[in-house]
Amino acid sequence: MIQIRNASKNFGATLAVDNISLDIRKGSLFGLLGPNGAGKSTLINLVCGLLPADSGSISFPDFGPNNQRAIKKSLGLVPQELAFYPNYTAMENVRFFASLYGLRGQALRRAADAALEFAGLTDSAKKPAKAFSGGMKRRLNIACGIVHDPQLIILDEPTVGIDPQSRNHILRSVEQLCRQGRTVIYTTHYMEEAETVCTDIAIMDKGKIIARGDKDELKLLIKDSTQVCFYFKRPEEVDLAAFRKINGVRHVQLDEQVLQVVSEVGISNLNELTAEINRQALLLSDIRSSSPSLETVFLTLTGRSLRD
């Protein structure tokens, strides 16, 4: 569906996309995972033709060369920022954006109804978008992006800043789009979302793809690591540096009340870790040995948290 070859994009001295090569298969639900500023949105803009690549190429083999119009018709973007007319009703918005793709009359009406139903906004079709809640606005943003029935749908961080109910609705909708045979590119910095919905994942950091595969393949990248989580009542007292010095410890990260320690497989350091907890007189509430997540993969590969 999409072939990206050695694509690079600079913004002044900042290399936003650094020599990326990627194939995205037709019908896949492709997750682009990475922290804010990793270059995901720039890569998306290159794919959509909103930015020219400084070098390399992005092609759509199914459409043949120089068929920009057909590519544009088959592409639907749900941008990170809300992109609709706040003074218009939901129906007016989707109808206008569908009409840009040549839909008229009955076809336009059907497409608008279907898009609003998909987004769960049928009952609010005649309400002005500015009166919507944050979650409803996000869903309208999706409806506007898919109303012309594109085959390739790109969702750029569609769940940022919304309530869990709307988030679940969006995740279910994304899976539904893929089941309907569409190719979906889903960018996020929430690793749980990528793990839940994506069949194929690329992890991006500092403009580069640092890992690629399905979630199990990615976790195999850190098969030589184990993870233990310590839950503290007063996490502000934790001295991370002391934990980092313990034999076999690869990465240490404190996320709210949870101290996440990634260690090498085969090195038994649990006694030393608990001894350090006692030495720091930390009030422990729970200990769990967890299987590595994509967050752990990112932490191990980059030494940083996805939310850093």
């Binding site: 973007l77 992109a83 609709f84 003074n87 218009y88 954006f97 840009l100 793709y101």
Partner: protein, 245 residues
């Protein structure tokens, strides 16, 4: 078809913002009334060949038309603020068609709003615009064309609302001043020479002559000046749009 679609969208967008429409309609009527009343004595004392109300009826009306540049650029920047410009860029439309659609929409809006101001000032304030509709309409059509083209091209060429606003806020009052919008430009001297470069000067002279002689020696230069400038600005905006991704 794309151009008409975008133009209709621009009209709808403006109608959804009634404050802009009301301001455009009310401000010139109020100013014509105030200036017309305030300067009546001055005009009578100086033996001017026309009433203060008729003079300011024309010059403040054309000033309002030129303020249409802001309506045109407002439409472009509204698309940017809403991020809907992004969707227009993603759709299978040519950038040039989008720019010309935005222009057509703002021009049609300006034409209708100008006609309403003209009608209201004639009916409510008794401004005498003469009895030759064609002599009145031709310079006005050209001026609305120029106002919309200026707004669209400033927004397209400069890209930033602040830069376009700064440019328009500098040039529009200057052109209005040279056009005699604030006071009568003397018939001699450097100000008279400089005023020749303001399209508004030609349009005002042409319109002020309509009640006395219909078409005048100023009509054709006014139409040519405004239309040529508008076409040049549109060409520049179109070229910029064609080159953008």
């Amino acid at each position: 078809m794309t151009i008409i679609l975008i133009a209709l969208q621009q009209i709808r967008l403006l109608l959804k913002n009634p404050a802009v429409v009301l301001l455009f309609l009310a401000a010139p009527l109020f100013m014509i009334f105030v200036f017309g009343q305030a300067f009546t004595g001055v005009f009578v004392a100086s033996g001017a060949p026309l009433r203060a109300l008729d003079y300011f009826g024309v010059t403040l009306f054309t000033m309002a038309v030129v303020q249409g540049t802001f309506i045109a650029s407002w439409g472009v920047f509204k698309e940017q603020k809403n991020n809907t410009r992004l969707r227009l860029r993603l759709a299978p439309l040519s950038n040039v068609a989008v720019v010309f659609g935005l222009f057509l929409g703002s021009w049609l809006i300006l034409l209708v709003l100008s006609a309403i101001v003209l009608l209201l000032s004639a009916v409510l304030l008794s401004v005498n615009y003469g009895s030759s509709p064609a002599a009145l309409a031709l310079p006005l059509l050209a001026l609305t064309l120029l106002a919309s083209a200026s707004g669209i091209s400033a927004a397209t060429l400069l890209g930033s609302e602040r830069a376009a606003g700064g440019l328009l806020n500098t040039f529009v009052p200057l052109l209005v001043f040279l056009g005699g919008g604030y006071f009568m430009i003397p018939e001699t001297g450097w100000l008279h020479s400089a005023a020749r470069f303001s399209p508004l000067r030609w349009v005002n002279l042409a319109l002020l002559e309509v009640p006395r002689s219909g078409f005048s020696q100023y009509t054709l230069p006014a139409v040519i000046f405004c239309t040529a400038a508008a076409l040049l600005l549109l060409l520049a905006a179109g070229l910029k749009a064609a080159r953008s991704v």
